[in-house]
């Protein structure tokens, strides 16, 4: 699954001609100079992105604008400025917005459930919202997503009796109804224990039909585990777009190990094996350099480790 993620301004004519493009080779999502404010807070500031097929991670701390961006892509919120092309359709036009929604699966952060509903009943309700009005087709679809997310045994359980991990699977299950081409998942694994995260990753890697998956998270390991591309959002701006390996490269030459905490490092912590991991712009001569991880790159980018936060 090749992913293509580039930030930056787009040439107007290219954008216009590509607006109706729906082939696999072109970008699947195109965001041009999108801005969104809530009151006086600028949630998204002149964001431009192109995203292709595959699982794309949207990385950033809380408040960085991830939820806003995903809401806009899921056609729940509208941008104050800028243009979008989602799967080749423009959400500002009513008929095209409908086409996006027909191909969309959305798992919002903190999804609320009708707590007295059973798992099946909730999925049935969402399936109807997704225009699956024929009961035979709808029930077959119910059975399919229940099986995909391993929830068949829980079909009759009330949602209020489910654990957190089970509810997230239910959230993914409702997003999978109708076999969407675009899956927008907002922090689907936050708060889950490692085993549950692993199960979720397995589910994501087995999705039928090769949809585009946008996954927002504030933890780097979620991104490195499953994503072929990553976008870093900080304070409403895109600070990086590329592969996890390229993200790690941002910290190349800046990560080293030492037996004790190093005074010259911007960031220094004791790793599991007893040695100290240091990140900083000026490693001492002869230091024990190590290959940086994506997390190191992210730390450099977010300015926590001496980087100025700018895209190189």
């Amino acid at each position: 699954m090749k992913a293509l993620a580039r930030p930056g301004a787009l040439d107007g004519s290219a954008a216009a001609s590509a607006a109706k493009e729906r082939t696999d080779s072109g970008p699947v999502l195109r965001i041009e100079h999108v801005t969104r404010r809530y009151g006086r807070t600028v949630a998204l500031d002149n964001v431009s992105l192109e995203l292709g097929r595959g699982i794309v991670g949207l990385l950033g701390p809380n408040g960085a604008g991830k939820t806003t961006l995903l809401s806009i892509l899921a056609t729940v919120a509208s941008p104050d400025a800028g243009r979008l092309s989602v799967l080749g359709y423009d959400p500002a036009l009513a008929s095209e917005r409908l086409e996006i929604r027909r191909r969309l699966g959305y798992l919002p952060q903190d999804l609320g459930y009708h707590r007295h509903f059973t798992v099946s009943a909730f999925l049935d309700y969402v399936a109807i919202l997704k225009e699956l009005t024929d009961s035979r087709i709808r029930h077959a679809e119910l059975a399919r997503v229940l099986a995909s997310t391993d929830l068949t045994a829980l079909a009759g359980k009330r949602i209020r009796t489910l654990s957190g991990g089970m509810r997230r699977r239910l959230g993914l299950a409702q997003a999978l109804l109708g076999s969407p081409d675009l899956l927008v998942l907002d922090e689907p694994v936050s708060g889950l224990d490692p085993e549950q995260r692993l199960r979720f990753r397995e589910l994501l890697s087995q999705l039928p039909g090769d949809p585009v998956v946008l996954l927002a998270t504030h933890q780097v390991e979620d991104v490195t585990a499953v994503c072929s591309a990553v976008v870093v959002l900080l304070a409403g701006r895109v600070r990086f777009a590329g592969t996890p390996a390229e993200l790690a490269d941002l910290a190349s030459g800046r990560v080293w190990l030492s037996p004790e905490r190093h005074a010259g490092a911007e960031l220094s912590w004791r790793a599991g094996d007893g040695r100290w991991r240091n990140i900083g712009p000026l490693p001492p001569a002869g230091a024990d350099m190590v290959t940086p991880t994506a997390e190191d790159g992210y730390l450099v980018l977010s300015g926590a480790a001496g980087g100025n936060g700018a895209h190189p």
Binding site: V76, A94, R101, T118, F122, D124, Y125, L129, L146, A155
Partner: protein, 304 residues
Amino acid sequence: MTNSPVDCAVLSAAVVASYADGRLDAAAAWSVEAHLPGCPACRTALSARVDADRLARNRAVVLARAGLHDPGLAARALRRCGVPEHIAVLLGATPSLRRSWLAGLLLVLAIVVGATQLAASLNPAVAQNLGGGGQFSVVAAAGSARWLGLLPFFILAPMVPLAAVATAFSPVLDPAYRLTAAAPVSKIWLLCVRSVAVIGASLVPAAIAALALPGPWWLALALLLPALAMCASALGLATVVPPLAAAAGVAAGWTAVVTAAALAANTASAAFGPAGQATAAVVLAAAITLILVRRNKIDYGWMG
């Protein structure tokens, strides 16, 4: 999964196979069928000849459907009236149509009616005047305090459908509202279907309560237009300000209008007179226009 089938003493495997393939003549098939319910071995042998994928697929659907709720009284009644199943399910998820909400509503109405009846019985002169001549005026027999007893009812009753509709759409009270926003279902259509159901469900108890009040019979009908006008205004305003704020604003405005009209004309039902009905009709039309004009906003960005 199960043990390998022991050959049945009555039917050979070949006969079972022929039956499965539809190759037996009618009489023999009849015999096989009469035998089957009592013979696990033959049943197992027969099952083995059925397409396993087909069985598995239907098994999954059976278990999924078993998890659905039993259709309640309301849902069954709707189906009998010819309402399609998917609409009945959709309405079942609306908060205001849940039994607990309706029960609370009935309780409130009962209290208001009870209090009013009590006030009327304590002052027979009031009851007498209420029953008179098809007029809107409720003449206060002695002091203005008497007819004030009716005022809370006139304020509350039309607000009942308003509250119902507000709860049906509030992002705070509809747990899955963001899913609704992102789904292909038409928001305007959903609005209409839910509003009709919710207004109907809440107006019926309110109207019955009105009939139970001392007063002319058409009082119940006079509630309808103001109620519709209020609901539509709240929904229309919700496209401009947050939904709960719109509902609260309309409720406050209504209270002020009813109280002011009652004080001015010295009758509790002043707001429901011909002038009041005409105003309500105009407000209703304006609100519907607003909703139509702002329908793009309802469809996109209302909840985000």
